[in-house]
Amino acid sequence: MATPTTTAAPRRRRFPYRLQVEPRLTVPRWLSPVVSFGALIVALVLGAIILELVGADWAQAYGHIAKAAFGDIGVFSDTLVKATPLILTGLACTVAFQMKLWNIGAEGQYVMGALGAAVVVLAPVLPPETPRFIQIPVMVVFGVVFGALWGAVPGLLKAKLKVNEIITSLMMNYIAIELVNYFVFAVWSEGGFQQSATFPKTSWLPRLTDYAKDLPILRGLTTHFGLILALLAAGLVWLILYRSLWGYEIRLIGDNPRAAEYAGLNITRNTILVMMLSGALAGLAGMSEITGTLHRLQTGLGAGYGFSGVIVAWLAKLNPLVVIPVSVLFGGLILAGREIQPSGVPRLIQGIILFMLIASEVLLRYQVRLVRVAALEAGRA
């Protein structure tokens, strides 16, 4: 039975302050970094409370994380190694997201990029004695092309048949991973193990430690040439997005596809091209990882870098240059996380940070003010 609704609001003692929320018409330039920084602090405080509740010493935990990620040049170098693929997958997502193409297939494009690079060595396309200065550019091209082609598939389906790219790019991840597994187990397995033979040295990206003969301080530092590639890619993506005609088209389509159509832009072509660029960047990440640190094809290649790219791009607010520091921070958290606990708390802190940063977007869109209820009542008189 429906009960009659009461119209009279129950009288209750009101809290003396009230939040007023209003949409913002303009957003000052300084606000975004300030809000992001504030959100980070809030997240760390929340993390500290949780650490305290589970009986850990939060100060010690945070200190350990900081030391394990940024404490000395050795661990910082390791952080950069983790950051390198994150920068590239972050850029891959940034490019696609700028056009509101929700490519969540960076993981698969990354794996395909790695496979592309491996093909050069394992098929082999080039003999092992090929000098490094030929070997590496060829591997870059293969990695980029494999990634781009993998990205082109959801792009084509979206552009020509309006198939939702979220689903297709996600599904393509699993296909890519199983495809690589096939090659690892069935074609290039070394002695039946879940990995291929180690690549010849000529196909390794140069590492800092390789120059320890001349500069002893570099001994043991594993930061590799992939970082340079990632930084160059960040600059290139920034140039494309903010200084090129193509980037203008990407931003216009992303902001209002109907206006873009009205202005005569070719949305079909751009959808495919942007998905290919996105895939190419993710593919470069896979190539850089396999030739910079792993030096062999193996299972579990992706390690979630592709999915983390989504988070990195979002945290960087789709700014290709901000992707760099965000990736370094994220890389540090991944590294330090493993130091203090294989899973659990560090993941939890990552989650809280992400949550806070995304929640803080509200503050950019709306103005929130705390006003005294009494003042409001007085204003009426």
Partner: protein, 516 residues
């Protein structure tokens, strides 16, 4: 005056937006049982003031008293509970649901079992009482804009509002529908309800309102002026702050060569229904052809077919004598066709991009903005700054996001972009809709200047006065067909054609001639 109870009193309302004082200590008094017009230019603060009254915005200072009781609204829901409802320019209806479902949406009754038939009956009764004929079981998407507005009014009546605020309600209506609306409003007033009628159309204000409050730049310039004691020129002056010329000097000039020719063009709309049927039309250089008609009779699709945004299912479109039926949007633009779209925010501009980025939207591939593969941002900015001055776009800088501009300023950005391209054919869709008197005059002068410069202009407007003032020829469109062509400025005859009547009494449109 004191014996008449005030339905609403707003005192000293201050509402500030970044960089703008939208309402500067505004007082507003609404009596029970009156139609009170709120008049002002775009950005004068009319909508802001009423958004404050309807609980959408909170004022920085000031008090609102409803029927003698001070109120403090936190949301439109609070305002409706106090008997105040606002109907916005953009209707807030769920397209796929029925009229009754839309009206019941968000209410506590019915609770669980819908019993729609019962509510259909109640809503039909309510509609009859106020002369709002609309079938309660129709889905919203099946209704015309005028009928959708009736649903919005019914929604408010059903919620028992005593004060109905309408933001530019006539902007979307045909003359006959406006009469219907006015009848409804009078029926509501007769029952003691009050209406706030936001408008910048002076003749309508004179026709329907009992009193007028005029706002200019956030301040009241006339408070509660009885319409019987004022005149259109006086109101225009109060509104704009200067004397407005109502006469446009249109120079007689012979039309030139045929620029646009449509030969029996048919097309279907997004729902797959026929929207244009054997539509034939010629527009010559230096002439303005006005398309009169009630919104939704194929005008939008007509513009889309010409500009390449929609494919014709049959017939031919010739631009400068060359077939462009299958031409892409870009190819049509390259042919010197400019298009001022009907929907400024969703089609004509990119809201989060800057004024500069919006200005270069169609010319970014041409030098000096394009430099090889790169975008010359300095050149783009200089162009935007030049046009910002020339077209008097009011914005802090050219880097300001388009979404923060008022309707009139956004339209200036679009006009700046479209007219600076020196078009040979201009498709102007509702170019002055929602603009204030001063801005309308400016836009109309720009269109006449284009005509004198030799452009062929296709003007689509629901403002008959505008069509009369600007057009050399007038074609009436009804259900996607040419209902007739008129040369006299006879409102009744055109009105009849617009409503689909009297097609036999007028001459048919001239048959398409083969291209020269």
């Amino acid at each position: 005056m004191s014996e008449v109870p005030l339905a609403v009193a707003m005192r000293g309302i201050v509402k500030r937006f970044p960089g703008v004082l939208a309402n500067d200590h505004v007082d507003f008094e609404l009596r029970a049982g009156e139609v009170h017009a709120l008049l002002g230019e775009n950005g004068a603060g009319k909508s802001t003031l009423m958004s404050v009254l309807s609980g959408l915005y909170k004022p920085e200072a000031g008090a609102i008293v409803v029927r003698g009781r001070p109120v403090n609204f936190n949301s439109p829901r609070d305002a409706i509970a106090a008997g105040l409802g606002m109907i916005h320019q953009h209707f807030m209806l769920v397209e796929s649901q029925s009229v009754t479902e839309n009206i019941l949406l968000g209410l506590d009754q019915p609770r669980f079992v819908m019993r729609l038939a019962e509510y259909d009956r109640r809503i039909a009764e309510l509609g009859d009482r106020f002369g709002l004929s609309v079938s309660p079981t129709s889905k919203i998407w099946q209704l015309s804009v005028g009928e959708q507005q009736r649903v919005e009014i019914l929604k408010m009546l059903y919620r028992g509002v005593q004060v109905l605020i309408m933001d530019e309600p006539t902007a979307v209506l045909a003359p006959q529908e406006i009469d219907g609306l006015f009848t409804t409003l009078r029926a509501m007033v007769a029952e003691g309800k009050s209406i706030v009628f936001i408008s910048h159309k002076l003749n309508e204000v004179m026709a329907i309102a009992d009193r007028v409050t005029v706002l200019r730049q956030g301040k009241v310039t006339a408070a509660g002026l009885p319409t019987s004691q004022t005149s259109i020129p006086e109101l225009a002056k109060l509104m704009v702050g200067r004397t407005v010329l109502f006469d446009l000097h249109k120079k007689p000039q012979p039309p030139g060569a045929v620029v646009l020719e449509l030969e029996r063009v048919s097309a279907i709309n997004n729902k797959g229904q026929a929207c244009l049927h054997n539509f034939s039309l010629q527009v010559r250089a230096g002439e303005i052809v006005g398309i009169a008609g009630v919104a939704g009779n194929g005008q939008s699709e007509l513009a889309e077919v010409i500009t390449g945004l929609r494919r014709a299912t049959s017939g031919r479109i010739l631009l400068h004598g060359a077939d462009s039926t299958q031409a892409s949007v870009r190819a049509v633009i390259a042919q010197g066709v400019s298009h001022v779209p009907e929907d400024r925010t969703h089609v004509g501009s990119a809201p989060n991009l800057s004024i500069t980025d919006n200005i270069i939207m169609k010319q970014y591939r041409a030098a000096p903005v394009a430099q090889g593969w790169s975008l010359n941002r300095l050149a783009a900015r200089q162009r935007a700054e030049l046009l910002k001055d020339e077209y008097r776009i009011l914005a802090p800088t050219v880097q300001t996001a388009a979404r923060t501009l008022s309707g009139g300023n956004l339209q200036r950005v679009i006009l700046a972009r479209e007219l600076s391209a020196k078009p040979r054919l201009l498709i102007a869709m509702q170019p002055t809709r929602g603009l204030d008197v001063g801005a309308i005059e400016g836009v109309q002068r720009l269109l006449l200047a284009q005509r004198e410069a030799g452009a062929a202009i296709l003007l689509v407007s629901e403002e008959l006065e505008e069509i009369f003032a600007l057009s050399d020829r007038i074609v009436v469109i009804y259900e996607g067909e040419v209902a007739g062509e008129v040369t006299t400025h006879d409102t009744d005859a055109i009105g009849l054609l617009m409503m689909g009547g009297g097609r036999s009494q007028t001459q048919p449109a001239p048959p398409a001639q083969p291209a020269a």
